[in-house]
Amino acid sequence: MQPHSLVRQWFGPDSPLAKTIVGYELRPAQEQMALLVLEALERKQPLLVEAATGTGKTLAYLLPLLNMGKKVIVSTATKALQDQIVHKDMPLVRKVVVRPFRMAVLKGRANYLCHLRYHKLKENSARLSIKEKQWLTALETWLRKTRSGDRDEWGGMPERPQLWSEVHADTLYCPGRVCPEAQDCFLAHARRQAMEADLVVVNHHLFFADLAVKEGGFGELLPKADCIVFDEAHRIPDIVTRFFGWELSNGQLSDLLRDSREQVGLAGLEDAGFTAEGERLEEALRELRSAFPAENARDGLSPDTMNNRPGRAILQVETALHRLVDAMEPLLDKVASLGPCKRRTIELLETSGRIRQFQDPGRVHWFETRGRFITLSASPLETGPTLRDLLYPAAEYHLFTSATLATGTGDAGFDFLARQLGLLPGEMLAQRLPPPFDYAHRTLLYVPKDIPEPAHGDFAHAAAEEIVHLLNHSKGRALVLFTSQRMLDSVHEAIRDRSPFPLLVQGALPNGILLQRFIEDVQSVLLGLASFWEGVDVPGESLSMVIVDRLPFASPGDPLVAARSRWLESQEINAFKEMYIPKAILSLKQGLGRLLRRRDDRGVLAVLDRRMVDKWYGRWFLDGLPPSPLTRDREAVRRFFQ
């Protein structure tokens, strides 16, 4: 059957879908996406589809893939989307897909309870506090009922995350098939289910952690699939950077020391050599922290750094780790459970050596200090080659989708992301679907013309004035997104006594509670930073205006950004055009995408950065955004809300 006929059969007015959903409306963008999926299957090419909220993406890819009998892995960036697919979309998909299929959700090891570790904790429960014992009792009750051992299914799980870390299925304590509890192992059960399923839902962290493990030649967690679908695919480059990076922190090393001591202690052993080496490592860790700035900082590392105090401190840590391994050696016969700690020590030693010696010129080396913690990292400069080598051979078909993939119109709009995904034009299909909402009539884009540029000293004051006027027009009901804490504080200070609307400020309460209050109190205004630029889903009146203080260019002072910029420049690539601008467009689209979440939503997008219109690159930003009418007159905003 022709692709058009198939799509009509699945999504048309006489489809099972139309008969199942009350008040079913045809969605042209959804049908277009399903057609693209079929085309990608036919051409065996990776597919990139930008589809806005409300397109019905999940059905647009699942119906073609499952109806064509493909075995599929769907990977999402957030738990919210995973829950939506599993609990909201899946019951519907089951009703309308022509072939029966089995579905499994696979999560990271830390989500599953390990029977062996649970029994160990119970045996040693005498050391626990009263509250911890209560937690253990609640766990016992839940354990009698659960079939999955997945902590997310433990409704009302009491807050004791540190104890959960002592009972989850940590790879370091897993004896594998020889485990006496292997029969009842929750993780093994989840993996078996995944192996047998036609559709497996995972998250990007698990997916890329699994891919990184495969790169190291170790056992894999995920089953083979015909097609891998990445929803929220714009998050992949950051996640890949993290999972394929090398990282060493004093936190990891302290945990290692704590775990090793615990194993020796539980065996009732006292070994002077081991104790002394543990103390030596502690001292080395103190020196490591002192060798870097006392305040919170993030900066690049260079070979020169390694010739000075930081380099000497790292060497001191490595020496202490070597000696700790030697001290563990004679204890292994008596404390078998010390084996995984020894393995971990050796792995950390290798990581430290790789970072210290700058072994890979394709990486940027940097450090971050936060309070008493110090982390040393070596992150890949580009993610494309890694994905090219590992991801594409892993399945026949790859589909990437998100509401923000393209940085402009036409095929070139996908260049930025494609490069990071290791894809070349001509070997992929890419399409930006029209938004399902009526942006032309239901939204207004406002960019003030008399405001100074963000670098100007008066900008914060002028932005605060502008925000006060805008909030009066919208009667509150706004999300104000800032690119820096300083700007948030400054605007908050300036408007707190002038806004008649309740102000909710990031940092004053946990984000979840702030968001809940923002939804409940319709007139409230939420002032937020990076974490509110994505994933905020507030349909309806509570969110009628999104204000962005400035174009969200990445900070050139960030070591990763600076190194990537230098690296691009060295290849004769204009980093501003090819990295800073596309990255900022994607961030801005994410932020402004908070506004329309339902067909009947309407509102104003206000960007208080005149460069968006006045500078040569302003056109690129405007092309990258949905088609809202542009005004530079605040009076038009007032009229819009009237």
Binding site: P361, G426, R566, E569, S570, Q571, I573, A575
Partner: protein, 234 residues
Amino acid sequence: MTLRCLALDGSGPLGGVALLEGDRLVESTSCPEGSGFGVTLYARVEHLLTQHHVTVADLGLLTVTLGPGSFTGLRFALGLAKGMALVHGIPILGISTLALQAEASQGNHPWILPLRDAGQGLLFFGLYHALADGLREVIPPSMGRLADMSARLQATIPGETPLCCGPGVATHLEGLETMRCHVPDHPHAQPSAALLGLMGLNRWRHGAQPAALNLEPLYLRPPQAQMQRLASGT
């Protein structure tokens, strides 16, 4: 009167500025990585000239790197050099970054192969022959994959073992080890702006023709679409 020469290198990641009087180096400074060469270049030049009581009009020659190298850095340095050359009528000479690298790395080897990483598995490369009176360019600055480079070397100097040098060596070490070439222990001698000035003076004395208006950065990277085809080998 001794010829005063100002040398500007914007090819990055370490940019540099040098002032020479004849063959005597007056001062050479480099901009440490991360300081933003483009931002500090004008201030550095001004500081260097003021420090030594030299005005732009006193300069007899300008030497500047043309690339391949930092997209923005090259434009900044060349833009400044062209501006000074046009206003004060100073002759200006452009030198490729690969020739500069070859000059910095030559020892007893007759064939020198400077390399810079061009990303996506590609390299910037050139080939230079060390003769008694200086280096002669044999393969002009080019961009390609390791296999392309190997084929060109085979065709140009069959049986010879060139000396690899430059920041591209570390990135492509694995591939280079399978080729017929010599990889030294320390392949990346960072060329200084002073060396750039000396090369400029030498060429000027040997009759190199100055240019100003028509001098452009030597960008080897083709437009992105063509680039992708090159990277994929199609």
